[in-house]
């Protein structure tokens, strides 16, 4: 390939957002598409990594696309190559392999990078993250014939790591900086339900604490926490969030804050450039402010919207995101916007005593989000209520009754009743 090349659609990032965008464009256009990725693999499923770690599925099953898919679709896949610089004026990307690619439309779908902890001893073996297939294999190795694990972080990844360790029969300690699980979304009662479930699995939990130092001789043997507590361990799993801005983006002149800022159609501040997935801080029309969501289904959906818009359509990204995580016997669900604002009101359905507990987040008389413990079957109704912006003002007492069927608020009779109230 020559040092300089021209494509119609250049996609930076070969994860689910970038690949879905490429597939969406190909369904609409015969023009030239290239994906540039620093990964060495074709598309694989990050959400299947926990099953791969536990040995439930083979390595092969983790992969979603093989090389023949890219060939069949006529999509050039440039692997183990990263973007070093971007020129918006020239509409070109300079790559780490020395090539310069000119584009008509560019998609930034660079994903996220597991945030690294840099305290003393961070380079010891046995300290693992959970983002890539290599990370998963690192964990697989590290939990072989070990007995004790420490997890840092109490979010989705922290809990996945804890589950991997506990299922592998390891004594597990969890450490998190927050005073409870998900303080921004869950109340104390919901968070305590997660804590109780983990304690039943003999997990030791330290809140409001952090890692100070790792000790070991080549391999981690002990951790020291900021509180002074210390635990022996042979493996440490770290899930303290992701960083989403690769250095080359910061110097391009594109507008960015936490991520690359886009409008509701996922177009950035440059007319020819779009962003999708973890890196996109998109204008969330439903909530009237920028938003950034780091999950698989959001990335796939944004890839679809960005791809169609790059192929000259005009589609708005308006998804209500939802996710359920299983913490052993407990299901913990999050729907929509669970940010607590000054004007947010919360309606409670059920309680810890009922072992089913939902909190509906209300703003401007409509549901904006929800957290659900052991009530995941209500998620679809709640998503619809959010999407349709159903006015709930006159049904507050109904909503707080766990026996009340949320789906009934979606039926036309009920809505007619609501409007004529």
């Amino acid at each position: 390939m020559s040092k300089s090349s021209q494509v119609d659609f250049l996609i930076v990032g070969g994860g689910i957002a970038g690949t879905t965008a490429a597939e969406t464009i190909r369904a609409r256009s015969e023009r030239r598409i290239m994906i540039v990725t620093d990964d060495r693999h074709t598309l694989y499923s990050r959400v299947r990594l926990p099953d791969y770690i536990s040995g439930k599925i083979s390595r092969e099953k983790v992969f979603i696309k093989d090389e023949s898919w890219y060939l069949d679709k006529g999509i050039d896949l440039l692997r183990e190559v990263s973007v070093e610089a971007l020129s918006l004026k020239e509409q070109s990307a300079h790559l780490s392999n020395g090539m310069t690619i000119r584009y008509d439309k560019l998609l930034l779908a660079t994903g996220g990078f597991a945030r690294r902890l840099r305290c003393p001893g961070f380079e010891l073996d046995g300290i693992c993250y959970l983002r890539t297939i290599e990370d998963a294999e690192c964990i697989q190795q590290a939990i072989k014939s070990t007995k004790k694990a420490v997890v840092l972080g109490g979010g989705f990844i922290g809990l996945e790591l804890a589950r991997c360790f506990i299922q592998g029969g390891l004594e597990t300690v969890m450490v998190m900086m927050e005073p409870q699980f998900w303080p921004s979304a869950l109340d104390k009662e919901s968070a305590a339900m997660i804590e109780d479930t983990l304690r039943q699995k003999r997990v030791i939990i330290h809140y409001s604490d952090q890692m100070k130092e790792f000790w070991g001789n080549g391999h981690v043997q002990r951790v020291l926490l900021a509180s002074g507590k210390s635990y022996g361990c042979e493996v440490v799993g770290i899930g303290i969030g992701i960083d989403t801005l690769p250095p080359f983006i910061k110097t391009t002149g594109l507008q960015w804050k936490r991520g690359v800022l886009t409008d509701e159609c996922l177009r950035t501040s440059d007319f020819h450039v779009y962003a999708a997935g973890d890196v996109a801080e998109f204008y969330d029309q439903g909530n009237g402010r920028p938003n950034q969501i780091g999950n698989w289904s959001n990335a796939a959906e944004q890839g679809k919207i960005a791809g169609s818009n790059m192929a000259s359509e005009r589609n708005i990204f308006k998804s209500v995101t939802s996710y359920v995580i299983r913490v052993f016997g407990l299901s913990v669900g999050f729907v929509g916007d669970t940010t607590f604002m000054p004007d947010t009101q919360v309606i409670r359905r059920g309680s810890a005593t009922d072992e089913s507990y939902v909190r509906l987040f209300i703003r401007d008389g409509v549901i904006k989000g929800a957290t659900l413990i052991n009530q995941s079957h209500e998620i679809r109704s709640i998503v619809e209520l959010i999407k349709r912006e159903v006015k709930i003002e006159h049904y507050r007492s109904n909503l707080s009754d766990l026996e009340f069927d949320l789906e009934s608020l979606l039926s036309s009779n009920f809505q007619q009743g609501a409007s004529s109230y």
Binding site: L43, V47, K56, K65, S331, H377, S381
Partner: protein, 72 residues
């Protein structure tokens, strides 16, 4: 009993396949139902898979009655 997966919303995390591989499989990043009609003996496993689905895309029918998500 019949089972449907909303393929559009499916993220293919394979939880359903882990719970009941006789009924569910994940191929190409999406879940699929292997059987058109499922024997009643599998009901509890199928319901477990539907309840645990992280993106809630599984619907279970017994005849014309929707059993998951439960219809009141």
């Amino acid at each position: 009993m019949k089972v449907e997966i909303d393929r559009e919303g499916c993220i293919g995390n394979g939880n359903c396949e882990s719970v009941c591989s006789e009924v569910f499989e994940v191929e190409g990043g999406k879940g699929a139902v292997k059987l058109k009609e499922i024997v009643q003996d599998r009901l509890s496993e199928v319901l477990q898979a539907a309840q645990d689905c992280p993106v809630q895309v599984i619907t279970v029918w017994e005849g014309s009655k929707r059993v998951y998500p439960p219809k009141k």
